[in-house]
């Protein structure tokens, strides 16, 4: 069964068809990449899947249930977590606290329990803290736990953001350009981390510009151009796809 099944998805802004009749599926446990030139509609597609935008038409089925039209927090509660292209860590909070937010959907204490500091919240808090710290250890950043997240190095912030998403224990992880702004060594580290995330049994959908990363770790790749899907195949086949080569490198006669 597919973890994510997108059918006939359409979203336009004014006269621009940002995402035009796109269908695809992501198999459970796979890493699927979404590539395409700037303005191809990758971010819009990502926002549609994660609930930031509602589709004009089309359906999104996630883990057996319709999620199109749901708000991001509802989508998250169903087991989908994401990272952001432009890092969106919570300022004035430590790296550990940032990751603890990821445990939100797995904990319950509300306003009243919090204000009265009820004993039942103590155990929950301890559990949240332990889980978050465990994730930092898994990602090899346990040493950063007490540091203000937004004062970390850029590459470390990317990993903390990944940790925050992992803390949700998602079934599907959406990564929006996880290698953006990283140098080659950091990109290789990120690729390694994403492979290890797959090893946890988490399905991954990734938008990325860095071809080395995409080709190395993806099981399948979708190529978007002007809002439409033009290819959906294994990495090797994508590399040899004439249409893909044309939109990335231009027409043969235009190459000079």
């Amino acid at each position: 069964m597919a973890m994510l099944e997108v059918k006939g998805l359409h979203r336009s802004f004014g006269g621009l068809h940002a995402v035009n009749d796109v269908s695809f599926s992501v198999a459970e446990g796979a890493i699927k990449a979404l590539i395409g030139p700037n303005g191809a509609g990758k971010t819009t597609l990502f926002n549609l899947v994660s609930g930031v935008l509602a589709p004009d038409t089309g359906t999104i089925v996630f883990n057996g249930g319709r999620i199109d039209g749901l708000k991001p927090f509802q989508v998250a509660a169903k087991g989908m977590a994401r990272t952001f292209q432009h890092i969106r860590l919570f300022p004035k909070m430590t790296a550990l606290e940032n990751i603890m937010i990821g445990r939100h959907i797995h904990s319950r204490a509300g306003f009243l329990a919090g204000m009265l500091n009820l004993p039942l919240t103590w155990k929950e808090e301890k559990h949240i803290r332990q889980k978050a710290f465990g994730i930092m250890e898994f990602l090899g950043i346990a040493g950063l736990a007490g540091i203000d997240a937004t004062s970390l190095a850029y590459g470390q912030q990317r990993i903390v953001e990944l940790g925050r998403a992992l803390a949700c224990e998602p079934k599907l992880l959406l990564l929006d350009e996880p290698a953006a702004g990283l140098n080659m060594r950091e990109t290789a580290e990120m690729a390694d981390l994403i492979s290890r995330v797959k090893g946890l049994g988490i399905t991954v959908l990734i938008v990325e510009h860095d071809m080395s990363l995409v080709m190395n770790i993806s099981d399948e790749i979708i190529v978007l151009s002007y809002g439409q899907k033009i290819a959906d195949d294994k990495p090797l086949a994508i590399q040899q796809n004439r249409e893909v080569i044309r939109i990335y490198l231009g027409e043969e006669d235009a190459q000079d």
Partner: protein, 369 residues
């Protein structure tokens, strides 16, 4: 963290007792009156501090909630039900002990709602209004939210000012004492000055404990996340809309409780308590205390309200609070009471001396973090 949090609460308790002892030894008991009133205003301020500083939502209408609390309490505890005592509802209230008779100033008997019942009614009404207003209004951001809450404050002010039943421009007077338990009452009499002081500051201490707990809870963490990056908090499963609304309601209830108790203490309430300038004053105090700093807000709330109530600012009272808001926003938007204040001042002074380097690093104090 937890131990640290309560250590400060114990210091507050010690300070509250210490101040009362001090006024006893120095024979300055008259100060307790303003300290008591400042305590009730501080309830509004610490609630608002959490809304502004932690949840990141501004409200320039909290005097409205203070007034809803105060006026509901004042109206219910002074409106004479005696003429209606044969009506089913009134006789039921009377039998249930919710309406009680007492002697009025002129020796007659009046039948009014018991202060406890009135207090609960005031809180329930505040919760209802806060949900009704907050639902649509909190979808707005920044200036728009500020203007919408300003509109709400204006409406409450105009309603209490224009309603004959609520005393119009005179407000409501002759509000009875609030007997919390037999022997302990909020009355504002000279002989109960010490008791009133302890009730007010007991409430403030309770309020601080509740809010400090909240700050250090799962909800507090989510609120800070909303403040920092709302879209990311939402993507992590935080129902940002509901959290903001709940925080708005909690802060409204804090304001209303302050209103209820101050009304019983003063024996009445007037429309000026609902005025916009009061709302602005609350925001100014939160700002000067340091937006996300409960202790700073409390200390500033106490200090500035005390000075204001003592008449220290004379006729320029409101102007002073306006000026404070401007100065804080211009020079220290993070508030006055914070750790790196002294390094900032040093940097500012050395810039005056022409040491450009120190001046540069002093702009935000980030280098010390």
């Amino acid at each position: 963290m937890l131990r640290h949090k309560y250590a400060q609460v114990f210091m507050l308790i010690a300070a509250v007792v210490g101040v009362e002892r001090l006024t006893r030894f120095t024979d300055t008991h008259q100060y307790l009156t303003q300290l008591t009133m400042s305590g009730y205003y501080s309830l509004v301020i610490i609630g608002l501090c959490l809304l502004i500083g932690y949840a990141g939502q501004i409200s320039i209408g909290h005097a409205g909630f203070f007034a809803i609390g105060g006026y509901t309490s004042a109206f219910l505890t002074t409106f004479n039900l005696m003429p209606y005592k044969d009506k089913a509802l009134v006789s039921f209230l009377s039998k249930a002990g919710i309406a009680v008779s007492r002697g009025d100033l002129y020796g007659g008997q009046v039948l009014c709602i018991h202060p406890w019942a009135a207090c609960i009614a005031a809180i329930l009404l505040t919760v209802a209004v806060a949900y009704a207003i907050g639902g649509p209004v909190l979808k707005l951001k920044g200036h728009y939210l500020a203007m919408a809450t300003l509109g709400f404050g204006t409406i409450v002010y105009k309603i209490v000012l224009g309603t004959e039943m609520l005393g119009a421009a005179d407000g409501i007077s002759d509000v009875p004492a609030f007997t919390l338990v037999p022997g302990i009452e909020v009355s504002g009499g000279l002989e109960t000055r010490v008791m009133d002081y302890y009730i007010a500051w007991g409430l403030v201490i309770l309020g601080m404990v509740l809010l400090l707990n909240l700050v250090h809870s799962r909800v507090g963490r989510a609120l800070r996340a909303i403040h920092g990056a709302e879209d990311a908090a939402n993507a992590m499963g935080v129902n940002t809309g509901r959290y903001k609304l709940n925080m708005f309601v909690v802060s409204a209830v804090f304001a209303a409780v302050g209103g209820v108790f101050l009304t019983h203490y003063n024996g009445g309430i007037g429309p000026s308590e609902a005025s916009i300038i009061k709302s602005v004053r609350y925001v100014a105090i939160v700002a000067i205390g340091g937006m996300a700093n409960l202790w700073g807000a409390l200390i500033m709330g106490l200090g500035l309200n005390f000075l204001s109530l003592r008449g220290f600012f004379g006729s320029y009272d409101d102007a002073v609070f306006g000026a404070i808001l401007i100065i804080i926003m211009l020079f220290t938007p993070e508030g006055l009471l914070r750790r790196d204040l002294f390094s900032d001042i040093r940097a500012l002074l050395s810039r005056r001396d022409g040491a450009g380097e120190a001046g540069k690093s002093g702009s935000g104090g980030e280098d010390r973090a």
